[in-house]
Symmetry: C2
Subunit: 356 residues, 2 copies
């Protein structure tokens, strides 16, 4: 989420093209590399740097070079019915499985009104919003979620058993910007705790537990311990539900069976599952009427009387939408360490990192 | 949720039969009255008294007698595709629309693998879990959600714009009890604040805001103000998403357009929408394999190392499941005021309330 303010900004077009060429150098096909780079760049543009090129590309390259993730995708539809499919991704790059699955979801929702597709044996797919938002241009409501290495204990526990298991919902809103909710089921993202650790800043109470399950505001203790699920047992329940659908139901990893955090485990594939759903709006209401109702709902929410000290009320996804406009102009900010790492990566692979 | 401890217990069979007969007296058909009574009784058995006979029946009777809710149900399928349907409930009792919709969902999921059905122009349908759990005996994962009169502000706001908008997910788990998550998107239920108000007990910090949007622990101020969404802006986003699917998409009420709380507004119909989904497990995995994986996931979660002072880790729905076993033996506890009210209601309608 947060960005270390280094003063280094890179143009989105140049950064995306560089990321694509780096992926090609480590064995990813041209079109596939473009899909992965675009999804990561979109996260950077929206201000979600935890899922952007500036955090994930180096991890992906390392996993591809170590043979922990297949650069060439192969998809098998293991089971299929009118409104469902299970896609075996054979340890390919998460974005490629997600795109395949969401395209399948949209195609099925066009025919059946709604559809639910799951991926098995896949990898980190970037920000969930990107896949849910694929539904928007088809006049559909999109949904996506994914499980992840364990960082959260069940209510009352002190061992990690669930990932941050994020999910996203995207809804078109006529001439307004879309509704885009993309959230981890923890109170705060792990990336935010990492940032506090780097800056030696205490956490806010309630964010995390130490390895004995005691509440802590020490970011180092939290990183060895647990993230708090949002709303206590409620977040635990949602994370568990996501794990069941993404992991248990797809034959992928679930619960405590993950080999460690993505950026820390470089020994085994992650083997995550993902879920994708779409609802064709016309199955329920004419698009124009729905658009008008969404525009009205948005106007009413933004017009809500404000609490003291609040200047503006945002619809879900509005901050990210505005951030994308801003960053298209300013470029993508880069922490100085990442910039240095990527300059070296570019030199090693013969794809010079673009000038800031 | 919580129950005032009056020492009065009524046998579930007798309570359910009484509720059914009361509903028949106010114009509900025999079979329909049985469905409504059973759904309310199930909530009482599971300890969810906020959605049980002991809280809701009196409200339903009043609304039926005032002509605010139709005792005789009529359902029109307004739009229908292979995996979707929109059901107009014509202001019928919420439970009857929910049952019709969930039966349709299951039937469609049997044919298409998964299905998504919505109800329009309906009423309070009891606990969401009851409808999600209908999927279980069909080897399916069930889901249900509903919007409700506004009690929650958007992040930064101080006017109610969203209901507690609960949702439920039910998953069969082989020989184990099912996974049943049923939760409001607020940090605590409104019923809990009402109970604190009755007992003059302060709220815990973070539960609620007063009418100016300031945090408060005063239950009276909270009842005139706002409930806090769980996880701050995350709960706001989820409540909004539920409102879009249940209200905006179905043509029912949404946002701030509700006429007031169910037990406070006796002037106009509530006009809520609901959503129902089912996923046939066999679309993704053989039932036996899924059952074995769920049993394993449950065993691992229950076996998680416990935080200090914690005796046991529960799977979602386990507490309610055990409560149902207990209350089947002890009977349903009744607050003394409700008992008195129901004795009088029984006298008025010629259906004597069962002896405790």
């Amino acid at each position: 989420m947060a960005t270390v303010d280094s003063g280094i900004f890179v143009g989105p077009g140049a950064l995306g093209a560089w990321a694509k060429n780096i992926l090609i150098k480590v064995g990813v096909g041209d079109a596939d590399a473009g899909v992965v780079a675009d999804s990561l760049l979109a996260a950077n543009l929206r201000g979600v740097d935890s899922h952007g090129i500036t955090r994930m590309l180096g991890v992906y390259v390392k996993r591809l070079e170590l043979g922990l993730m297949n650069p060439v995708s192969r998809f098998d539809i293991v089971r299929e019915r009118a409104a469902t499919a299970l896609v075996d991704c054979h340890n390919g790059i998460g974005q490629l499985g997600a795109r395949f699955a969401m395209e399948k979801t949209i195609e099925k929702a066009k025919r059946s009104g709604a559809a639910f597709v799951a991926t098995a044996h896949s990898n980190h797919y970037g920000a969930a919003a990107y896949w849910a938002m694929m539904a928007l241009e088809h006049g559909m409501i999109g949904f996506s979620s994914v499980n992840a290495p364990a960082a959260v204990a069940p209510a009352g526990g002190r061992q990690p058993m669930f990932g941050t298991n994020p999910f996203a919902v995207a809804v078109p809103a006529g001439r307004d910007i879309p509704f885009v909710l993309d959230m981890a089921t923890t109170l705060v993202a792990r990336g935010r705790v990492i940032l506090h650790a780097k800056q030696n800043k205490p956490l806010e109470p309630g964010w995390a537990f130490d390895s004995l399950g005691r509440p802590t505001t020490d970011p180092q203790a939290a990183l060895k311990g647990l993230l708090a699920p949002m709303g206590g047992y409620k977040g635990y329940g949602i994370a568990f539900a996501v794990d069941i659908l993404s992991g248990v139901l797809t034959g992928s990893n679930f619960g405590r069976h993950f080999p460690g955090m993505l950026a820390e485990n470089f020994e085994t594939p992650t083997d995550v599952g993902g879920i994708f759903a779409a609802i064709d709006i016309e199955s329920f209401m004419d698009r124009a009427e729905f658009a008008a109702r969404m525009e009205r709902a948005f106007a009413e929410v933004r017009g809500c009387a404000k609490a003291n000290g609040v200047e503006r009320i945002y619809t879900p996804g509005e901050i990210e939408h505005e951030k994308a406009g801003e960053r298209a102009r300013t470029g993508i900010p880069m922490p100085v360490e990442i910039h240095q790492e990527y300059v070296e990566l570019g030199e090693r692979l013969g794809v010079p990192f673009p000038k800031a």
